[in-house]
């Protein structure tokens, strides 16, 4: 009995130390998350932006509305197109740069310097970056003036009046902001590949194309998948760049309005918690499914690795 009282219970200190995180998480993440699910089954908004309507329980009506009018899917299409326009060139360039910077044969000097430079755009706030582009590409801005002076443009041109140019600018900004990050991830992936495999392949007479296609690329698959999925999740949440570049309009022809911008519209004026909740739940499901894919891919791959080593 005496012995027991003397014994210090250290485990409670552990609980004290992790408690702040859980308290903050429950208040600021879990409760809002659950209430989002809850209100997605209600009609709940402010009439004229100020008079409360609801909450009236309507079960799945919000979801039925989303699927029947299809507006969300149009915005999902916009988001996907703009994400692809940025991601495809990004992955190609990043892969190329990662190969060059890790190549033992090229021995590029100052990779640290270039890595920093390439990562730089990511440090600028997306909204500030967007404001900058808005100024640079304005109808009477420096880019248009330069093009006109050099004779490439006959008359004034407004980048933000055409769907293709506006989408391209948004994709370009996403590309600039994220290619450095992707390059560094891919470099880490390539450097993780056992150099002896590559060396022995070249001793056996494999050329660099064969080494790339047959050795590096297959071994880089899990990292590529990781880059793809995280970028896709980031793409789904695309908001600040198009919001500021189009001054919240998602124009022209609503072709640059993303899903989160739609969510923003629902919530700002009439605080439509019901419908916005349903949209958020759908986004949550898609994002969770994508995260699950990454999780599974990594888990499987580790097992393959272990099996392969065991077989040796």
């Amino acid at each position: 009995m005496k012995k027991k009282t003397n014994k210090l219970n250290y485990s409670r200190y552990g609980i004290y130390f992790i408690a702040p995180f859980f308290i903050v998480y429950i208040i600021f993440s879990l409760i809002p998350l659950l209430s989002t699910f809850y209100y997605s089954f209600f009609e709940y908004y402010m009439r004229q932006g100020i008079m409360q309507v609801g909450p009236n329980f309507i079960f799945l009506d919000n979801y039925i509305n989303i699927f029947s009018d299809g507006i969300l899917f149009k915005y999902a299409g916009n988001t996907l197109i703009m994400w692809l326009m940025g991601f495809i060139p990004q992955i190609i360039l990043s892969l190329l740069l990662a190969l060059w910077f890790t190549s033992t044969r090229l021995k590029i000097k100052g990779t640290g310097f270039f890595k920093t430079i390439m990562y730089m755009p990511n440090l600028v706030m997306a909204s500030a970056f967007s404001m900058l582009f808005l100024q640079i590409f304005a109808a009477n801005g420096p880019v248009v003036n330069m093009l006109m002076e050099s004779g490439l443009l006959e008359e004034e041109f407004n980048f933000f009046e055409k769907v293709i140019t506006t989408r391209s600018l948004i994709a370009l900004m996403n590309f600039l902001m994220w290619f450095g990050n992707t390059t560094i991830l891919l470099m880490a992936g390539i450097m993780g590949i056992d150099q002896t495999v590559i060396e022995s392949a070249s001793v056996d007479g494999a050329n660099s194309r064969q080494i790339f296609l047959r050795i590096i690329l297959p071994l880089l698959k899990p990292i590529m998948l990781y880059v793809l999925i995280t970028s896709l999740i980031g793409g789904i949440q695309m908001f600040d760049i198009p919001q500021i570049l189009t001054e919240g309009n998602g124009g022209p022809n609503l072709a640059t309005k993303t899903m989160i911008m739609y969510l923003h519209d629902l919530i700002t004026t009439s605080k439509n918690y019901g419908l916005a909740g349903a949209v958020s739940v759908l986004l949550f499901i898609v994002t969770a499914a994508l995260s699950f894919v990454v999780f599974r891919a990594f888990k499987n791959n580790d097992m393959v690795d272990i099996e392969a080593t065991a077989r040796k």
Binding site: Q48, N140, P252, S270
Partner: protein
Amino acid sequence: MKKIFTVLFLMAAAFTLFACNNDNGGEVLVIRAWNDEFQNRFRDYYPDYVSTNSDGTDVLEDGTTVKWVIVANDDNGYQNALDLALQNQETADADDKVDMFLIEADYALKYVNSDYTLDIIEDLDIDEADLDEQYQYTKDIVTSSEGKLKGTSWQATPGLFAYRRSIAEAVLGTDDPDEVQAEINTWAKFDAVAADMKEAGYYMLSGYDDAYRTFSNNMANPWVNSSDEIVIDPVIEDWIEQTKTYSDNDYNHGASLWDSTWSADQGADGEVFGFFYSTWGINFTLQGNAGDEGFGDWAVAQGPASYYWGGTWITAAKGTDNKDLVKDIMLKLTADKDIMKQITIDTQDYTNHKSAMQELADDPDFGSDFLGGQNHIALFIESAEAISMENISPYDQALNEGIQTAFRDYFSGEVSEDDAWDNFYEIVQAKHPELKRKD
């Protein structure tokens, strides 16, 4: 080094705590606004104003502290913050309760029709006769659906057509306001002048939405009818038709209100004949954009239609604990003849007092140097009397912005008219789920 920063940080934090603790001398009046315009008027013209503290609050003669909560308008920020404060009004500390807040015409009815604003006649005990000199339209905008007056304004904002004298001389052969007005006093004549401007290498207007308010202020019905259906007024269709013609024929410069092209068009190198501008726009925005080179090169005429643009109303929040002070501020800053007249003399702004403005209009010495000595007040008087704002709705902000956004793509040739209408309804219904498209 790290330690020094920690000490400095703690000192700063402690200082802030102490600084917060010393403002408990007397009542606190909380005023919410989106910019410092009213704040400046208040400090310059409210007779009981004494001084401003280092933390931005003001002190009045009776010891009351005036606390300003200024939240910028961008992205609906002002209204969002205001709505939240009003919802928490009952539980807020006495010193944090909103006493007055400012509103704009496009969303005035949102607050006026709600319970969050006080009837200034019944609740604040303001004598209706004291407001006799104010323009009727400024009262209509803040009259609730039950007929209660919920606010008051120190400005009237009638609009005019501001034009460049040098271009008028070159194309129309005269820069005299009366003669120019005779050339543009109907839309048909205005269109004809636009064609002449194009011929001479100028633009008539700068942007797609420059003329919007001259049409939308003359609607015969509110935007939304009693069964929540959106009603497209014939004048809106006229605006769409006219702007499409102007865009296709290059009569306008393809800009949008407030964008950099639009501002540059008002500068020294601008090739745009004129801009629809109301009181504040001429003395603040246009004069700023025109710069020194443009000084004296502008004049105003009434244009083809009367309209207003902008303006700010003061309302009293329900739950205010300073009713008498709110009443006094309203009377002094929106209905006192001498103060109203002085504001106009000092700032060239147009104030909401008919006889004060009439005196200035009749004063042969009064005029604007920027407008080449023209007495613009005289023109504003005629214009202000003609404004009728009986047909506003609580949804005007969303609908006015929505139609300008949606039809910009139609004017630039990116979408068809039908698509523009679809986009319009899509934009508006995301913002106000209760609105319906009329078949």
